[in-house]
């Protein structure tokens, strides 16, 4: 499945923790997600966002744990997900938060 070309925006993200075991075979999509999160545009969108990678060798499932600035938490288990699905789930939440922020600013302005 082709990965969408839309860039990952980390504006509302406080921290991203990616944990995987590289010797497993179901890790490809998690690694692709990690590459996208660490891309140039993503890092430029939020310099204060902390991206940590936990490389283990215990046969555990690959997990992506995203902590948003407003306290929300998104946990994605990447064993049976495609990279496109993970990115679209993450982007949809970011867009929803963008809309909320815009509404708040409009209310404040009004």
């Amino acid at each position: 499945m082709a990965v969408p070309k839309a860039a990952v925006v980390l504006r509302h993200v406080k921290s991203v923790m990616v944990r995987f075991c590289p010797f497993q075979t179901n890790v490809e999509t998690t690694r692709i997600f990690l590459e996208h999160v660490n891309s140039k545009k993503a890092r430029a969108s939020n310099i204060s966002c902390v991206v940590t990678t936990d490389v283990r060798h215990d046969g555990s499932e690959p997990v992506v744990d995203i902590m948003f600035a407003d306290g929300d938490r998104l946990i994605m288990k990447g064993a049976n997900l495609t990279a496109a699905e993970m990115l679209s789930a993450f982007n949809s939440r970011c867009i929803a938060k963008d809309l909320k922020a815009e509404e708040k600013t409009k209310k404040k302005g009004a």
Binding site: P22, T25, I32, E35, T53, V55, R56, H57
Partner: protein, 260 residues
């Protein structure tokens, strides 16, 4: 319909007159399905496509042999050489790194004779599946880079990689042993070979050195006890030396005369 009737009457009575032309006719393009003209049906039937049957084909079409790309051959040769000449091969996940940081990291690693290699997965995976490094296959997925060196300098490599958070160590093959991330860290904490050999030799020789002491221990202990006894005896008899000394002296010559 009326026009068609006129036409028919004309045909029956006067023959086919070229000047008699049908002014009104049915439309050729209709919204409903309309049967083709009979002549057209005959033409379509005659010119229908008949596909050639496979048995009638003389020979199957042979696929043109695609020659291998020269660049792919070169990369494969480089991969083979890299895996053959390196004692330490570390595989890392390569996320985006600014070019200055990358250059600095390459420079620091080059000081310790560690080379940074990028190979496409399409070249590396077929080579690995055939070679003895089969178990490294799962690591070569996505964007990865290799740190190779003919020497084993794990501590220096880990120290340099700590400064570059975008490069994540996934695993390594050091001295024909595949290690995970934690395994590489444990390997770096091991003492040097000379120190380890000295420790082994010391442990083995400790047993041998103790044997001599154990054998002599019992006789030495007995000698010490006898010494102690003699001292005690001589110390207790020292008080009566003055009295018993003369008696002993008298006894001594008497004994000696008796002996004679």
């Amino acid at each position: 319909m009326a026009a068609a009737a006129l036409c028919c009457r004309g045909l029956c009575r006067t023959g086919w007159l070229p000047t008699l032309q049908i002014v009104r006719h049915a439309k050729s393009v209709t919204r409903h399905w309309k049967a083709m003209h009979f002549e057209r049906q005959k033409l379509m039937a005659v010119t229908e496509y008949i596909a050639p049957k496979p048995e009638k084909c003389i020979a199957p079409r042979s696929k043109a042999v695609t020659e291998e790309n020269g660049y792919a051959k070169l990369l494969r040769w480089q991969v083979t050489e890299t895996f053959r000449d390196s004692k330490m091969i570390a595989v890392c996940q390569h996320n985006f790194t600014p070019s200055e940081e990358m250059l600095l990291m390459k420079h620091r690693l080059r000081k310790h004779n560690i080379h940074v290699k990028f190979f496409p997965n399409e070249i590396v995976r077929p080579y690995l599946s055939v070679s003895k490094y089969k178990n490294l296959l799962p690591l070569f997925v996505g964007c990865s880079l290799m740190l190779v060196s003919p020497e084993i300098k794990v501590k220096e490599m880990l120290r340099i990689l700590k400064n570059v958070p975008q490069i994540n160590l996934l695993g390594a093959c050091i001295d024909n042993t595949i290690l995970s991330n934690q395994g590489v860290i444990n390997y770096s904490k091991l003492p040097a070979m000379a120190i380890t050999q000295g420790q082994v030799v010391g442990t083995l020789s400790l047993m041998a050195s103790q044997t001599c002491g154990l054998l002599q221990h019992s006789s030495a202990h007995l000698a010490a006890l006898l010494d102690q006894y003699i001292k005690q005896q001589s110390g207790g008899a020292g008080e009566t030396d003055g009295k018993a000394g003369e008696g002993q002296a008298e006894l001594g010559p008497a004994k000696s005369s008796a002996g004679l």
